[in-house]
Symmetry: C2
Amino acid sequence: MPALDLSSSAVDLTRTICDIPSVSGDEASLADAIEAAVRDLEHLDFYRDGDTIVVRTAFGRAQRVVIAGHIDTVPINDNVPTRDVEIDGAPYLWGRGTVDMKAGVAVQLKLAAELTDARVDLTWMWYDHEEVDADLNGLTRLARTRPDLFEGDFAILGEPSNGTVEGGCNGNLRAIVRTRGVRAHSARAWIGENAIHAAAPVLQRLADYRPREVPVDGLVYREGLNAVRVNGGVAGNVIPDLCEIEVNYRFAPSVSGAGAEQHVREVFEGFEVDVIDVAEGARPGLDAALAQEFVLAVGAEPRPKYGWTDVARFSALGVPAVNYGPGDPMLAHHDEERVALSQIEDVERGLRSWLTTH
Amino acid sequence: MPALDLSSSAVDLTRTICDIPSVSGDEASLADAIEAAVRDLEHLDFYRDGDTIVVRTAFGRAQRVVIAGHIDTVPINDNVPTRDVEIDGAPYLWGRGTVDMKAGVAVQLKLAAELTDARVDLTWMWYDHEEVDADLNGLTRLARTRPDLFEGDFAILGEPSNGTVEGGCNGNLRAIVRTRGVRAHSARAWIGENAIHAAAPVLQRLADYRPREVPVDGLVYREGLNAVRVNGGVAGNVIPDLCEIEVNYRFAPSVSGAGAEQHVREVFEGFEVDVIDVAEGARPGLDAALAQEFVLAVGAEPRPKYGWTDVARFSALGVPAVNYGPGDPMLAHHDEERVALSQIEDVERGLRSWLTTH
C-alpha cells in the first residue's frame, strides 16, 4: 500500500493520491492509505464506514465546521499517472482527479493533520461514490448510519470552484416527456401514427425556452432546461409508437422540488411527463456569521454554484454550506483535466488562515 | 427429415412447411425437404445454391414465366406449430409463415410438381434470407452466380396480396438527418449548444409533410416520409452534441433513386442528410401482354403494392413482375399471423387456370 506523507506539500500530496486510482467503486486502496495516515493522529477521533472516513477534533470550541471531499473519480482515460505540464508559463498537474477533486482532498488531508489547534472544532469527511448514483454515495450511507457526524455550524465542500467561494447550488430535476403513436409498417404509414413526429412541439418548446436568472441571497442563479436524451423507434421499417425525451431542469435554490416539478409540467402541458428524480438545490448560506467571516478571510467574491453538489445535503440538514476548492469546474471529467498548482496553494492558504486565526 | 407430399392439398402442404421452422439463416431443413420432393421430377431441371432452389421446365414454349417465393420467416413467437382456427365462421391456418409466405410457397410447390404441360415454360425459385439484409438474400446471390436463371417474359412473386394482383412496388430510401451541437455540462448549458433542440424543425417538417399519391401505369402509389428512429444524448448531465433522425422515404416507382434522394434533400434543406440506402421501386408491369392476360385470368382488380418486394429485382432486369399470393399483408410479421384457407385455394386456382389454358 502506498504511504501518504501528510507533511509533504499539498501539491505533492495531490500527485500521490491522484496516482492511486480510485474510480467509483474502487476506492479501497486510497481509503486504506488515508486511514493509515490519519487514524493514529492524537487530535482526531477516527471513524470508517466502507470507504468513507470521518475524523473529528474535540477541542471544545463553541462552533464546529465540517469539511468534506469525495475520493472517487470518473473513469480514467489514459490520464493516470499524473504529469507536470506548463501552460502559458504556469505550472499545472495534469490527470484524472486533479480537479475533481483530489487536489481539494489533498489540502484537506494536510490541514487535518496539521491543524492541532484550530479556532473551531473540525469534522473532516472523505467519502466514496460521489460520481455515480446518489444511492451509492458514501454520504447517503453515513447520513443513515451516523447522522450525528453531520452536525456543525458551517460546511465546506472541497469541490472545484477555481479557488473562489461558490455558494449553494442549483436544484436538479430529471423527467421523461413521452409522445405516443400507433405502430404500422412504414410502407403503409397512414395506418399508424408517428410518435417521433408528435415530439416536434416538445423539442420546439425546449428550443424556445428562455431560462430564468434568479437572485437568491445576493447571488444570481442561472437556470437551464434541456433535453439530454431522445429515443424513439422500433425498426427501420416500422412507424414508431413511442418517443421519449429526457429533460434535465436545473432550478434555482429558492425553488422547491414541488415548484420545479410544477414548472416542468407547465412547460410541457398537453404531454405525458414522468418526473424521475428531483434533488433540491441549496441556498448559498452566506448569511451565516461563520460563512461571512470565511468569505472575508479567503478574499474572493462569492459566486453561485450551478452544478448540484453535496452541499445540498448539508443545506437540507440546516447546515449552511459552500463549495471551495482548487480546479476549474469546467475541466472536471474532461480528458484534459488539470489543476493550476497556484490554486492548490491558494486554497490551502485560505483555509489555513481562516481556521487558525483566533 | 420430414417428407413433403406434393400431391396433398395446398392447405395441408402449407401446414407441413410452416411446421418446419425456417427463420432466416435456418432454412436448411426446409430447403432439404423441398429438394427431396422436387429434384427427381422428370419435367424439371434442378439447381440448388445454398438454400435457394430453382427448378425449370423445358417445354419449348415461346414464353417463360418466373414464379418465386422466399422460404424464410421472421422469428417465431410461440406461433409454431400452426393451428387451425375459425374466425367469423371461416377457417384459417394460424402461425408464423402462414402469410409471409409459406402458403404462397406451398401453392407454388404443388403446381411445380403438377403442371407437366403448361402454356408457358416455367422457372420456379424458392429462396432464403428474404427477411434480413438484402446482401444475404438468396436472389442477390443467384443474380451474381446464375443471372441466366432470371430470364423470363413475366415474373410472379408469391408475396401476400390477399389473393389479388399487386403491381410493382414503391421504392425505399433510408437516410439519416443529423443535427449537431456542442457538449457541455447540463449545469452550465449556456456554454454548449443543444443538438436535440436543434432537431425540432426536422421533426416539424416531417409532421407537416403531406405524402404524394402518384399514378403509375394506371395504379396510384401512395408515398410516405417518416422518422423511424431518433437518437441523441450522451448522459443525463451532458448537453448533447449530436441528434440523429433516421427517415424512411417510400417513393412511387416512377421516381428514380436519384430523384428520391433529391426530394429528401429538399425536404431537409439546411440540415445534414446522409443517404444510407436507396432501392428503386418497380413499375406495375401491367402493360405487358402476359400480365394483362394474367390479371384477366385471376379476375381481380389489380392494386399497387406499397411495400418493397423482390419484384423490383425482376423489374430492374427488365422482367415485368407482380405480387400475387394468399394472405393479408397487414398480418405479415404479426403475432396474429394467419391465412384464410379460401385464399390459398383461390390463388392455387388462379395460377393453375392461367398456366394451363392454352
